[in-house]
């Protein structure tokens, strides 16, 4: 302890105190303050950059999600449109078929009706002609054969038979 105290030099202590004080003052003013400020600024800058990158990433994700949503909606709309179109097509086709059937039906009916009419007309024409013919035949036969009584009877008989047979 005594040698320790003997080794202690008050002069050196004073010099060290003064020099260290000066050194601290100079370094704080010219070195530490600007260094620490710059380091802080740099760290803030890095932090901000990281944060904005994170934000940009999030935004991108949002955008992507939005896009997907839009795409999905568009697809759904397209599907709906296609479905509707198909339905319309089908209904048009079936309507057309129905109508065509109806038209055909009426056409057939008309045709049948007119055929019937024609037939009726033809039949009545035929009957008329047959009657006229028969009258003509009957005239000629009567003119020629009515002189003989048996023949007359026979003829009438024959005629009647024919008529009834019909």
């Amino acid at each position: 302890m005594e040698t320790l105290l003997n080794d202690f030099s008050p002069g050196l202590f004073a010099m060290q105190t003064v020099l260290l004080l000066g050194l601290i003052f100079l370094l704080v003013k010219f070195a530490w303050k600007p260094i620490l400020n710059s380091l802080n600024d740099r760290e803030e800058g890095i932090k901000n950059a990281l944060e904005s990158a994170e934000n940009a990433k999030k935004e991108m994700q949002n955008l992507k999600a939005n896009n997907e949503q839009l795409l999905k909606e568009a697809r759904a709309e397209r599907d709906a449109l296609l479905k509707e179109a198909r339905e319309i097509k089908e209904s048009i086709i079936s309507d057309a078929k129905e109508e065509a059937k109806e038209v055909a039906q009426t056409l057939i009916e008309n045709a049948q009706a007119s055929i019937q009419q024609e037939k009726q007309a033809a039949l009545s024409e035929l009957k008329h002609q047959v009657a006229e013919l028969s009258i003509g035949i009957a005239e000629t036969v009567i003119k020629k054969e009515l002189s003989i009584k048996e023949d007359q009877l026979e003829l009438v008989q024959g005629l009647l038979e024919d008529v009834t047979l019909k």
Binding site: P10, L19, L23, I24, V28, W32
Partner: protein, 374 residues
């Protein structure tokens, strides 16, 4: 290319410095204890003890020339004394490397002698120093010595180095975000002190105020510790006056930044019986005012001094074991041992700087800590 230029410049400076050092003769005194070769265990011990102390001139090496004269290569340093007759200054070369009080320098009507790196003022009328049996000077007293000793020179050197380096680092930030060159090595060290020492020990809120001091002290101690390992032979952080000044700085800082709760916990400890509080106050005061700074100053001083003594003792093996092992064997042994211990000392140099700064930060942190739970 820049690095090459820088290193060339560095070597030119070193070479100029070496050429500028003067070779000057030691005192003609034949029984000069300081001169001569170191060749026995006793002389090795003396040499080591002499080295560990501060010195008034900067000697790089010494040799004896053909005429048997002792030559010292180095340069003298100014001696600045506060004596009974006011300020006295002269160059240390006037003592002619004498360290046992035999060379008396007369200035301003006063006589001075240097004994074991301490400068004594002789009593009026005395022309030669007289010693008692325990080798204490009887007719002289110590003076206040503000000389630029080797340690003060080292402090200046480190101060200038630190200013150049860190001013350079600070300047680089004006131009670029990331420093280049040597400053690139300094930046992580600054960050290390800030993030590993200041911030965790003092706390996020207050650390900024004290970081400047902690950075200064950390680099100051570390660079001086490392300088102490070079053949320049500085032993600044092994001077108890230097470590004491550093510890006093920390003491003053934490005393003046201590908040109410810090003083409350020292003087009137809450949560213990009232009768015990005064006793605790005494213990706490002793701890805060004496034990903490004392532990700081002794730890640094003892570690660095011990390191120097161990390294030099191991080098001394070269001389002390020469008789039993031969020149080659003892030199080899001394080299291997001192090589490895020097590696450890490089680690210790950092470690002691770190511990001093760390504990300073811790003590400051305790003083500014806020107790929310009361």
């Amino acid at each position: 290319m820049k690095i090459v230029l820088n290193s060339i410049r560095f070597f030119v400076i070193i070479a100029t410095a070496l050429f500028a050092t003067t070779v000057y003769a030691g005192g003609g005194n034949k029984n000069d204890k300081d001169g001569g070769q170191v060749s026995s265990a006793e002389e090795v011990k003396e040499y080591i003890l002499h080295h560990v102390k501060d010195s008034h001139d900067f000697t790089l090496w010494s040799y004896t020339n053909d005429e048997g004269e002792r030559k010292h290569v180095g340069f003298p340093l100014p001696i600045i004394l506060w004596t009974s007759n006011g300020l006295v200054t002269f160059m240390s070369s006037e003592f002619h490397h004498n360290d046992d009080g035999h060379v008396v320098v007369e200035k301003k009507g006063l006589r001075f002698a240097k004994i074991h790196s301490k400068i004594y003022e002789l009593e009026p009328g005395a022309s030669e120093i007289k010693f008692d049996e325990s080798h204490h000077a009887t007719n002289a007293h110590k003076v206040l010595d503000f000389s630029i000793t080797k340690s003060v020179f080292g402090i200046f050197l480190v101060g200038i180095l630190m200013f150049i380096w860190f001013r350079g680092l600070a300047r680089q930030y004006k131009k670029k975000k990331i420093p280049t060159g040597f400053a690139r090595i300094l930046e992580p060290l600054v960050l290390y002190v800030r993030d590993e020492i200041a911030r965790p020990n003092i706390g996020e809120k207050h650390y900024r105020r004290f970081t400047g001091y902690l950075l200064t002290v950390f680099f100051f101690i570390w660079i001086l510790n490392l300088l102490g390992l070079t053949p320049l032979g500085f032993n600044v952080t092994g001077q108890i006056a230097v470590t004491a000044a550093l510890a006093v700085f920390t003491l003053i800082i934490y005393l003046f930044s201590g908040n109410k709760s810090f003083w409350g916990h020292i003087l009137w400890m809450p949560g213990v019986p009232v009768l015990i509080r005064p006793i605790l106050a005494v213990i706490e005061l002793a701890g805060t005012l004496l034990i903490k700074p004392f532990s700081l100053l002794v730890r640094l001083f003892a570690n660095i001094s011990a390191g120097h003594i161990v390294v030099m003792s191991l080098i001394g093996i070269m001389i002390t074991m020469k008789a039993s092992m031969g020149a080659v064997g003892s030199t080899l042994l001394a080299f291997v041992l001192s090589f490895f211990i020097t590696l450890i000392e490089v680690l210790v140099a950092f470690l002691q700087a770190f511990i001093f700064t760390m504990l300073s930060a811790l003590f400051i942190g305790m003083a500014v800590e806020e107790h929310d739970h009361h």
